[in-house]
Symmetry: C2
Subunit: 171 residues, 2 copies
C-alpha cells in the first residue's frame, strides 16, 4: 500500500475476525517497531509477541481497555525501560509512541488492524510475560484482520479541524 494510503487507512480496530496473522507479517510489524527512532538511539523498548490463545485471554485482563486482546490474532506487549528521572519519563514514552505508530502503519499496510490500550498495573502482565523489574509494560497492541470492513483511507477522520491544530509561523 502507498504510505499516504496507509496513514489515512489506519484506524482503531477492536473487533477482529478469526484469520491468523502470517508469521512473516507479524515479524514485519515487529521490525517496523525495531527501526523506530529514539532519543540518542537508546531504543528503550522490548516487544513481546503473544499468539497463544490462553495467554491472550489471560492478558486481556491486564487493563480495562484490553478486552479485545482476547480475540486478537496476536498482541504485542510494548515494554519500556523504567525511566530514571522526569526527563526520561517524557523521552521514553515519546519513543514508545514512535515505535507503536511505526508498527501500526506497518500493520495497516498489510490490511491488519490494531487498537492499542495503555497499561497501568504491572502485576498481571509481569506475571504472564515475565519481564524484569527494570522494564514496564506501557501498552498492549492487539492485532488482527478487522471484523467489520477492510482498511481503506478515511475521508473524514474524527479529529480536530486542520486549521485548529496547525498554526503558521507562530501561535
Amino acid at each position: 500500500m502507498e504510505t499516504w494510503d496507509a496513514i489515512r487507512a489506519r484506524r482503531d480496530v477492536r473487533a477482529f475476525d478469526s484469520r491468523p496473522i502470517a508469521g512473516d507479517d507479524l515479524d514485519r510489524i515487529l521490525e517496523a517497531g525495531r527501526r523506530a527512532p529514539s532519543a540518542l538511539n537508546r531504543q528503550p523498548w522490548d516487544f513481546v509477541a503473544v499468539t497463544e490463545p490462553e495467554r491472550l485471554r489471560a492478558l486481556s485482563e491486564a487493563s480495562k481497555g484490553a478486552g479485545h486482546v482476547a480475540s486478537s490474532a496476536a498482541t504485542i506487549a510494548i515494554l519500556g525501560l523504567v525511566p530514571e528521572d522526569d526527563r526520561q519519563v517524557r523521552l521514553v514514552n515519546f519513543d514508545l509512541g514512535q515505535a507503536v505508530l511505526s508498527m501500526m502503519l506497518a500493520a495497516a499496510d498489510l490490511g491488519i488492524g490494531s487498537g492499542h490500550s495503555s497499561v497501568n498495573d504491572q502485576t498481571l502482565p509481569r506475571r504472564l510475560l515475565g519481564y524484569p523489574e527494570d522494564r514496564f509494560c506501557a501498552h498492549l497492541l492487539p492485532l488482527g484482520y478487522p471484523a467489520d470492513r477492510p482498511l481503506v483511507p478515511l475521508k473524514r477522520p474524527d479529529r480536530r479541524a486542520f486549521d485548529d491544530v496547525v498554526h503558521r509561523e507562530r501561535w
Copy 2:
C-alpha cells in the same frame, strides 16, 4: 512510495540542501500528524509550522541539538498540552511520539528528510512562537531535502538485533 519502503527509508537527517518544501507537501506532513491516534482521542497537540528564515534561525537556539533548524526548509514545533498528573505525562508524550512518527513517515514518503530534537527550556520557543501557558514545546521537527543522498530503504539500520528486542510469548 510503498509504506514498507518509507518505514525503512526514514533516517535521521540533519543536513539539508536549499530546496524549499512545496506548501502542499508541508500540509500533507501536518495532516499526517493530525490523523495520529491518541488516548481517548484527546489529540493533545498543536503544530506550529515555521518557514521564515529569520524565525528558523532564532528557533535553532532553542536547544543544543536544534542547530539544524536554522538550515531546514521548514520546522514543525510540536506542542503538547501541559499534563495534569504523572499518568498524563506518560500518555501525552506517548501520543506526541505517535504524531511525530506519522509526520516523519509522511515526509520520507515525499523524499523529505527529518531529524527531530527535544526541547526542555520553554523560554525562547515560547517567546518566538507565542503559545499559551497550558502548552509546552516538546520537540522541534526540522524538515528538508537531504544534503547527502536521497532517502532509500536502509539494509542495516543501526539498531539492537531483532532477536534481542523481540520476545516470543514471554520474556
